[in-house]
């Protein structure tokens, strides 16, 4: 395990910039398929704009449904990305270095997709500007708008600031060439020279954003839950909803980070930097959140189910033993218990096992969001039959397009920016491990390289 210092540094840079090189046919094939899905979704949206929201399967007894679930689910995973990165930064977790960039980028793009569903769900998106020109302070939709916008700015800052030194690396790399890349990176690197003052300012700022983004993210998801919880509708009108949504977002978000990290790790052969241990740490986080989410679910159902008042009873009956029961128990087993076991059992606590668990969690949490939105809407408030929500091909196409847009946007983004945080990787490599208390030292190769100098000019 003896590495030459320069070799290590060059390795990190090579790996981080690997996606920016010439792409193979697999990249283009995957990008093509994803783009096709997005284009089909865009076409479906145009169809929906002309024909009305009824073409997506909506009607008066199913006035909210799949888009609202998508909105919550995508903003939720975004939240996970931002929080994983922020918490790991604040706790100075050394193993975070190879995954922060992926997590932060995922946070931005899934937030964009989630926000897009807020537009897609509107009957009159052409009047969206009214949210700015004539907002009503009492409306949770306005709160959502403000919160999501704040969070968007925060995640963009959170992604951009740590990018500056990495862009400087790119600037230096393309300095000799005469093209748009030189100009782009030259402008974006902000005269970064790795000077102590610059480093200090950067670290201060990143820490400040990391601190700020945690309450912002908590609030965004709380506000999102209030769009449901402030209504008197049985099934939604619950005081537990805000923290319940926050935990749901974290849970699905960590799972999404694992999926994104696993996907790009495999595609760009980043195994040397993103090790099984990273998956294990993230999986432990996910396991904790899994238990927490199951606990919240149980708490909500117990308090409502114990009194069994006539408002909530029909919904609980349908959810636990009626028409929604198969989906609910599928969620409990598929996204609650199975991932728990996959992570808890040492035999399955492997990268494929953890990735399987994460995929189950992401899919199951999306299903859970549908189970939060649909039954409460479908339940009759006065008398008569239950409504239902049956998404049409329009709704499904647009939903798939949203799901495809996240990896596509990430693939495009990493064609232009480093996939690993070079600055942080080298920073970690430069700092000696002071307390080797853990059985596995963080980033062993880089540490053992004994790098003392700063890696960046």
């Amino acid at each position: 395990m003896v590495h030459d210092r320069t070799v290590v540094l060059e390795d990190v840079r090579e790996a981080a910039l690997r996606p920016m090189g010439r792409s193979g046919w697999r990249f283009w094939a995957l990008a093509g398929v994803l783009a096709l899905v997005v284009v089909v979704g865009a076409g479906a949206y145009v169809y929906q704009l002309i024909g009305g929201l009824g073409t997506a399967g909506y009607y008066d007894r199913g006035f909210w449904g799949i888009y609202e679930a998508n909105l919550v689910a995508f903003i939720g995973v975004s939240y996970g990305g931002a929080l994983v990165s922020a918490i790991l930064r604040l706790t100075q977790a050394r193993w975070r270095a190879p995954i922060t960039r992926l997590a932060e980028a995922m946070a931005v793009f899934s937030l964009l997709v989630g926000a897009a569903f807020a537009v897609i769900h509107l009957g009159r998106p052409d009047r969206m500007w009214e949210l700015v020109t004539r907002p009503q302070a009492s409306s949770p939709i306005v709160w959502d708008f403000v919160a999501v916008m704040t969070y968007l700015v925060a995640t963009l800052v959170f992604l951009s600031l740590p990018l500056i030194p990495d862009v400087a690396v790119l600037r230096d790399r393309f300095s000799g060439t005469a093209g748009w890349r030189r100009r782009l990176y030259g402008a974006l690197s902000l005269n970064w020279r790795g000077k102590p003052g610059q480093r200090r300012l950067l670290e201060q700022s990143v820490t400040a954003v990391a601190i700020l983004i945690i309450p912002i993210a908590v609030l965004v998801h709380s506000v999102l839950s209030w769009a449901f919880a402030v209504n008197s509708r049985p099934g939604w009108d619950s005081t537990i909803f805000a923290p319940y949504f926050v935990v749901a977002a974290l849970f699905s978000g960590v799972a999404m980070v694992i999926l994104v990290v696993a996907g790009f790790r495999k595609a760009y052969h980043l195994e040397r930097y993103i090790e099984p241990k990273h998956f294990r740490y993230l999986a432990f986080l996910m396991l904790t959140l899994d238990l927490l989410y199951l606990y919240f679910t149980f708490t909500e159902l117990l308090t409502e189910g114990y009194t069994l008042n006539e408002q909530v009873t029909p919904i609980l009956t349908q959810l636990l033993a009626g028409q929604y029961a198969p989906f609910f128990w599928l969620f409990v087993v598929g996204a609650g218990i199975v991932p728990l076991l996959l992570v808890a059992l040492p035999r399955t606590r492997t990268v494929p096992g953890i990735v399987t668990a994460s995929a189950l969690v992401v899919a199951g949490m999306w299903l859970k969001r549908l189970l939060i939105v649909v039954p409460a809407v479908a339940a009759p408030l006065i008398s008569g039959d239950w409504g239902s929500f049956r998404p049409t091909w329009v709704a499904l196409s647009i939903t798939l397009a949203g799901a495809a847009a996240i990896p596509l946007l990430l693939m495009i983004f990493f064609k232009f920016f480093p996939i690993l945080s070079i600055y942080e990787m080298e920073e970690m490599a430069a700092e000696p491990v002071l307390e080797p208390t853990m059985s596995e030292p963080a980033v062993p190769e880089l540490v053992t390289a004994g790098v003392v100098e700063r890696g960046i000019r």
Binding site: V146, N191, L212
Partner: protein, 196 residues
């Protein structure tokens, strides 16, 4: 045969009813006694005998021409209102006259000003119908309708301002942070040495 019987029955019936009709039209009907109805208003009293604010009793007295009280006659009370395009008699209530010929309903006007009240006693076999009006000048009203309440209005206003302030502070902080970082790094930050 059957048809004939039916026809005969029908004929008898028709003739019979015609005769009946003729009798009712031509024969002098039994004249019901003419009645005189007087109506007045009085403040309504609470159990302690104090007048209740804005509450009245509408009192009608039904008497025959010779001044005998008419008992057990329903009297309907109306208020004249201009409503949906025309003057309408809005039913306040119906009460039956007691042994003194008096029928009473409670009346709670919702508006100040002059109200026109109508009492009406329908015709019966014994008595002719009669009606009368009275006006009531009202200067104080107690609305019978639940007031529109705005619970916690001041708290809600304060909350809105508070949240708006927090949002502004967060945005200012975020943008300030970003601007500070960008300008600082661009300036090279030699001036911004660590302040240990």
């Amino acid at each position: 045969m059957k048809l004939l019987t039916k026809l005969a029955v029908a004929l008898v019936l028709v003739l019979g009813s015609l005769m009946l009709l003729a009798e009712t039209v031509t024969a002098a009907p039994v004249q019901p006694d003419p009645t005189g109805l007087s109506v007045t208003t009085a403040p309504r009293l609470d159990p302690k005998g104090h007048p209740m604010a804005g509450q009245y009793l509408v009192v009608a007295t039904l008497k025959t021409a010779d001044g005998t009280a008419v008992e057990n006659q329903p009297v309907s009370f109306y208020e004249q209102v201009q409503f949906i395009g025309q003057m309408r008699d809005a039913l306040i209530g119906t009460a039956t006259t007691d042994s003194t010929g008096t029928a009473v309903v409670a009346y709670q006007p919702v508006q100040t000003g002059v109200h026109t009240l109508v009492a009406h006693s329908a015709a019966s076999a014994q008595y002719a119908q009669s009606a009368t009006t009275s006006t009531l000048q009202v200067s104080q009203v107690v609305s019978p309708f639940p007031a529109v309440i705005e619970p916690l209005a001041s708290v809600r206003a304060a909350l809105t301002i508070g949240v708006a302030l927090v949002v502004i502070v967060v945005w200012a902080f975020l943008i300030g942070l970003a601007v500070r970082a960008i300008t600082g790094i661009r300036a090279g930050s030699e001036a911004m040495q660590p302040v240990e």
